[in-house]
């Protein structure tokens, strides 16, 4: 019974799966993907653009993974460790709400807009832009700065509101337990 066709196939399937490390269908799907990629690659070669294409294709992954990502990850870590940040208050006292997201969010949004629109903002395509539209790219830097300014201002206002609310809540407790807290601070 154990040597009939279906069970032999099943055994071969299991053997392949064990050797390969996943369901053989996984391999089949990936081979189909590589086949289509290979065919598209022949079209790229036929178009006579393969060198630039490969450089930009692989370069796109490298620039994102090894340049862009480390860049924003390191700036985020640096911002969180701000050397200019005040020392933590002694434990037991309610700390001020963290300001990191009020810095992080507008900076990231502004950075995203710059990442997408840097040719316009920095005027890098000014010549082709003028040939096409009859206009120049000069307004874009100002517009980006304006949006950036609005984002940071909005964030600062949100943080101020947050701080005020925090003080209102924290004040009674501060009175009771934290004589070192600044009594003269304006707290509405």
């Amino acid at each position: 019974m154990s040597d009939d066709m279906p069970s032999r196939i099943r055994r071969a399937y299991r053997w392949t799966a064990a050797r390969y490390g996943a369901d053989p269908l996984h391999l089949l799907a990936l081979l189909a993907c590589f086949a289509l990629t290979g065919y598209a690659a022949t079209r790229v070669v036929a178009a006579g653009i393969w060198v630039g294409f490969v450089v930009w294709f692989v370069g796109a992954a490298i620039v994102h993974d090894l340049l862009l990502y480390p860049l924003y990850a390191v700036s985020d870590v640096t911002a969180q460790r701000r050397p200019w940040r005040r020392r933590r208050r002694p434990s037991g006292h309610p700390a001020r709400p963290s300001s990191i997201n009020y810095l992080r969010v507008p900076a990231a949004l502004s950075g995203l807009l710059l990442l997408i629109w840097f040719p316009l903002i920095l005027g890098l395509a000014g010549d082709t832009y003028h040939r096409s539209t009859g206009l120049d790219t000069s307004p874009y830097l100002g517009r980006w700065l304006l949006v950036t300014g609005v984002l940071f201002a909005g964030s600062a206002i949100a943080y101020a509101i947050r701080l005020r609310r925090h003080r209102v809540v924290a004040r009674p407790r501060l009175h009771a337990r934290a004589p070192r807290s600044p009594r003269s601070s304006p707290s509405g």
Binding site: G21, I100, L115, T128, S132
Partner: protein
Amino acid sequence: MFGLVLLAGIPIIAITGMLSYAAYDPRVPDNDTTPERGWLGFYLFDWPTYPASLYRVTQGVHVVLGLTLTAVLLAKLWSVIPRLFIWPPARSAAQAVERVSLLLLVGGAVFEFVTGILNIQLFYVFPFSFYPAHLYGAWIFLAAFAVHVAVKLPKMVRSLRSRSIRRELRTGLDATRPEPPDPDGLAPLSPAEPTMSRRGVLAFVGGASLLTFGLSVGQTMDGPLRRTALLAPHGRDYGAGPNDFQVNKAASAMGVRLAETGPGWRLELAGARQAILSRADLLALPLHTYVLPIACVEGWSAEQSWTGVRLADLARLAGIMPGTAYAVVESLQRGGAFGQASLSAGQMSDPRSLLALRVNGADLSLDHGFPARIIVPNAPGVHNTKWVRRISFHPTAR
């Protein structure tokens, strides 16, 4: 979560992109920008003239949705990047093969977004023509995307089910706990104190998408909303006059001189018989007015009221029965792409397809194609040839 959004969005971008390729009518002679496409253009069909705003919508969606999802793509890549540095890089043959496909997936995604985003800003720094690179790159990306979805879909469903979205939306920073260690090694082993709740991350990325969307979607609109496109290449305000709308390819840049568009200008028709017409001759023919959009592959669009002679009437003047011939339209422009474009027999016989002489009640301005330009419903902008000097008719093989 970001995966789910991309799973919904990328097929829309892919389909609208493929439609844009079909919109160029590459099967009509001289229109194909990628003649070596082989089987990758298997889906081509005659591009319709109804509805007139179809291309305006599909290409607007393609470009604006692509811009909108840039933030989601970056967030998705951010959330999985620990996998890049995992050691050993593969524990089995299956993992090794899959990692190769991930290079195609990530490289392809970034390649498609970057070439698209640079192209709409007319920043042609890439060492290749945009059309073949963006098309073939799309196929490579989509192949890897389809396999990635097939492999990861069960995992995505499981991880989405592992948390209640409603509860997460009610969970603030104080109650946010780090992800428990997972078999994929995505969750950090010694996580720092959380600085942002999960709902905060969603709002952050969603807000970034919304911001990009809000600052660019205006370039697909008419009227005062167009001014909201603060960061979009073609959302600019030209003024309030009849000819004050988006220009693509200024006359001066295309080498079109005022003298050759003056009284000496003639339109040449070449079909079963020849005809030479001055602008006054054209104005004496029956004129028709239609409100039609111009929609560009770069995503922007604008609707205007065009007045001119039906292309079908010009075909009859050249001794051609409308619907039996495609046409090659040649421009006065020197250099630049699309100085010549072919229109299908179907496009030539639509009654709203015009050789426009006037726009919004005024003569065309030089930048908009004076003395005469093509306007065909639902055709991509570059096929609406400006400064037309010659239309030749060629019987279709069918």
